[in-house]
Amino acid sequence: MKLHYQVACIATLCIFTSNVFAKEQQSNKFNPQLSVILDGRYASYDNDPEEYELPGFSLGGEAELPEEGFSLGHVELSASAEVDDKFHGKLTVAIAEHDGETEVELEEAYIETLGLGNGFTARAGRFFPSIGRVNGQHNHAWDFIDAPLVYQGLWGAKYIDDGLRLSFVAPTDIFLEVGIEGLAGSGFPAGGERSDGIGSKVLFLNLGDDFNISSSWQVGLSYHQADVIDRESGGHGHGGDEGEEEIPAFSGDSKTIGLNAVYKWSPNGNPKNRHFILQAEYFQRDEDGEVILEGSDPLEATSINGDQSGFYVQGIYKFAPHWRAGIRFDRLDSDNTGSDIDVLEEAGLLNEGIKPTRYSVMTEWVPSEFSRIRLQYSRDESSENEESQWFLQFTTSLGAHGAHIF
C-alpha cells in the first residue's frame, strides 16, 4: 500500500504528505545470539567440604558444596537463535572445575517449535526437565549461590536429561499449561545406564494468574518416574578401609512428586525498583529396588524401600533499584528401609535421626542486568557436623542475555 494522502500540509507539520518516516528495510539482527556467563566465587566452611553429606539421601550429579577458597563457578557459554520461522535452537555449555580438572558439560542442546499452533510446543534434545521451578533456571539465575537442599538431595543439584517434551497451553483466561516429557533417563536421579527407550518420564501442570496489576502467582505440580539401572552416588564419605572406595549404586523404580508455588509483587507491576518474590517447592520420592556397594568384596547388597522428601521456602526482596536481599529455609526428611541396614548405613541412606536443615541469608548488589555481586551466609545443619558457610559470588553476563521466565 502506497502511503500518500492528499491532506493539507499544516505549516511545519506536513503529516500525511510523504512517506519519509516509513522504513525501507528491516535491520538484520545478529544471528545467533551469543552469551557468556562468568562466575567467580569465594567460599569458607567450618568443616571439610569434601566430607559433606546429607544423611538419608544419595548425593549424585553435581550435589556438592562449592569449592573452598577462591574458585571458578559455573561458566556458561550459550548460543541461541530462531533457526527459521518454525524452530528455535539453543546450546548451553557449562565449564566447571572439579578437583583441579576442567570439565566441559553440555547442559542444553535442543530445538523447539515456534508457534506450532493451538497452544502446542514441542522440544527435543537435551534440556532441563520440568520437575520444578529451580530446575528450569540456569545456575546463574538462581537466587542463592547453591541449589536448595531438596535439589541437592533428590536431583543432584540439577536434573538434566535427553528427550522430548510436548506441552500445551489452554485457551483460557487463567494460565493453564500441561506437558509430558519422555526422557532417556541418562542423568541423576534416573542415572547410570542410559535406557534404550524411555527411561524416565515427567508429567507437569502449571497454573497461574494475576491477583491484580501488582501481584501474580503460579503453582505447579510435577510427577517424575524413572526405571533406574546402576545409579551411582556418593556414599558415606569414609570409603573403604584401605582407601578403596565403595560406591553405592541403586537399581529399581523411582517415583517423585513435586509441588511448587510462587507469588510475586511489585508496585504497579514495575519490578525494576522494588520487587518481592515468595517461592516454595516440595518434593517427595518413593524408591523401590536394590542398592549394591560397588567395589565391595564380597559384594554387599540390600533391598531398599526409600521414602525421601524435602522442601524449601524463600523470600527475595529487591528493596532498591540495585539491591536485593533474601532468606531461605531448607528441610529434608527421609525414611529408608531395607533388608540389610548395615549396607544402607554404609551407602549413607540412613537418616541417623537427622532432618537436614539449613538457614540461608543473602544480599546482592546488582549494578545492571549484566552484573551482580552476592554475599551469602548459611547455617547448615545437614548432618551432625553443623557449620557456618560464607560465600561471595561475582557473576557477569557478556553478550546477549535472553529474557527470563516468570
Binding site: 500500500m1 502511503l3 491532506v7 499544516i10 505549516a11 511545519t12 507539520l13 503529516i15 500525511f16 519519509v20 518516516f21 516509513a22 522504513k23 528491516q26 535491520s27 520461522d85 528455535h88 517449535t113 515456534l114 508457534g115 506450532l116 499452533g117 493451538n118 497452544g119 502446542f120 510446543t121 506441552s167 500445551f168 497451553v169 489452554a170 485457551p171 483460557t172 483466561d173 487463567i174 494460565f175 493453564l176 499449561e177 502449571n206 497454573l207 497461574g208 494468574d209 494475576d210 496489576i213 501474580s216 503460579q218 510475586k264 504497579n268 507491576g269 514495575n270 519490578p271 525494576k272 525498583n273 533499584p321 545492571s368 542486568e369 535472553g402 529474557a403 527470563h404 521466565i405 516468570f406
Partner: protein, 307 residues
C-alpha cells in the same frame, strides 16, 4: 454408542473452551498490544470487531515487566500482536511468543507487528557497548510520540486487520480514514500551540521523548539518567544543577511510569518547573484516545514551556 460418547465429549470440551475463553463476541479479532498506545490504536481501527488487551498499563515501564502467566495466556489466544519492537520488549516478549504455542503471532506471521520495524527510527547507533546503559542499537523504540509515524503505523495495522478479517476490511478502512481526519483536525486546531513549542529547551528523565522532540522541534538539553536505564545519581544531578543554573531550561519532565524524586529535587535546586507528562495513552479504551492524548500532551507542554 462410541460415536455418541465421542460427540458428547467434544461438545463438552467445546463448551468448556467457549466458557473459559470468555470473549464477548466469538468472531472478534483478538489483539494483544504490548503497550497502551498500540491497544488504543487497535481499538480505534478495529472498533467492535476486535477484543483488545494491553500487556502493560501507562504506569508500567515497558522495558522491565515480567512474562507473567496471565500474559502468556493472553498471547496464546491472540490473533494479532502489536508491539513497539526495536528491543523495547526484549526482556519478556520472547518468552510470551515461545510459550504461547500460537502460530498467528510469531515473527513471520501477518498477526505480528513490531511498529518500529515499519517507520524510520531515530537514535540509531553505529557502535553499542553495555557501558552506554540500556541502549537499543536498532534505534529508539518510542515511536508512538510522533503523530506522523503514528498514522503510518495506523495504515499498516488497518492493512493487517483487513488481511486477517477480510469480511470487515471496509470497516477497518473507514475507521482509519476517520482517525486520520480527526488527527488532522486536531493538529489544525492546535497549530499555534504546536508552533509556540519550537526550540523550547527542556530536560527529561529518560531518553524516550526523542520522537516528540523531532516532531515539535523541542530541544532536549539533558536527561536525569546519566545513561539510558541507569537511575539518576547524585553526581550526575549535581552536574546538571550547575549546567542548568548557567543555561536555564523551561521545564524538567518525567513520564507517567518514571519516579518523580529526581525531577522534583532538580526543579527545586534550579528553580525550574517540573512537569509530569503522560508518556502514553491512559484510557485507551475510550473513543479517540490517541488524538485526545496528543492534544493533552501538546497542551501540558505549552503550559509548562511557553511563557
Amino acid at each position: 454408542m462410541n460415536n455418541i460418547f465421542k460427540g458428547s465429549i467434544s461438545k463438552f470440551l467445546l463448551a468448556t473452551i467457549l466458557v473459559a475463553s470468555n470473549s464477548s463476541t466469538f468472531a472478534a479479532i483478538n489483539v494483544l498490544a504490548c503497550e497502551p498506545e498500540w491497544a488504543a490504536l487497535a481499538k480505534q481501527l478495529g472498533g467492535n470487531h476486535v477484543v483488545v488487551n494491553s500487556a502493560t498499563t501507562a504506569l508500567q515501564d515497558p522495558h522491565h515487566i515480567q512474562a507473567r502467566p496471565r500474559l502468556i495466556s493472553k498471547a496464546r489466544r491472540a490473533d494479532m500482536l502489536i508491539c513497539s519492537g526495536a528491543e523495547l520488549e526484549i526482556g519478556w516478549l520472547p518468552i510470551l511468543l515461545k510459550k504461547s504455542g500460537n502460530a498467528k503471532i510469531q515473527s513471520q506471521a501477518i498477526g505480528h507487528i513490531m511498529t518500529a520495524d515499519h517507520v524510520e527510527l531515530l537514535g540509531k547507533l553505529e557502535k553499542v557497548s553495555r557501558s552506554m546503559g540500556d541502549v537499543h542499537a536498532a534505534g529508539n523504540p518510542h515511536v508512538h510520540l510522533d503523530p506522523r509515524r503514528m498514522v503510518l503505523i495506523a495504515d499498516l495495522v488497518t492493512q493487517r486487520l483487513a488481511q486477517i478479517d477480510p469480511d470487515n476490511s471496509e470497516s477497518y478502512r473507514n475507521n482509519n480514514q476517520s482517525f486520520k481526519s480527526d488527527m488532522t483536525a486536531m493538529l489544525e486546531r492546535m497549530k499555534a500551540t504546536v508552533e509556540s513549542l519550537r526550540n523550547k529547551r527542556w530536560v527529561v528523565h529518560h531518553n524516550n521523548w526523542i520522537y516528540l522532540n523531532d516532531w515539535l522541534g523541542l530541544q532536549q538539553i539533558a536527561t536525569l539518567e546519566p545513561k539510558p536505564g541507569v537511575p539518576p545519581t547524585t553526581k550526575h544531578l549535581a552536574k546538571l544543577v550547575s549546567s542548568l543554573n548557567e543555561n536555564p531550561v523551561r521545564a524538567i519532565a518525567y513520564g507517567s511510569y518514571q519516579p518523580k524524586k529526581a525531577a522534583n529535587w532538580l526543579g527545586k535546586k534550579t528553580n525550574t518547573s517540573v512537569l509530569a507528562l503522560q508518556y502514553t495513552v491512559i484510557d485507551w479504551e475510550k473513543p479517540n484516545a490517541i488524538v485526545s492524548w496528543y492534544e493533552s500532551l501538546i497542551t501540558s507542554l505549552a503550559n509548562a514551556l511557553v511563557p
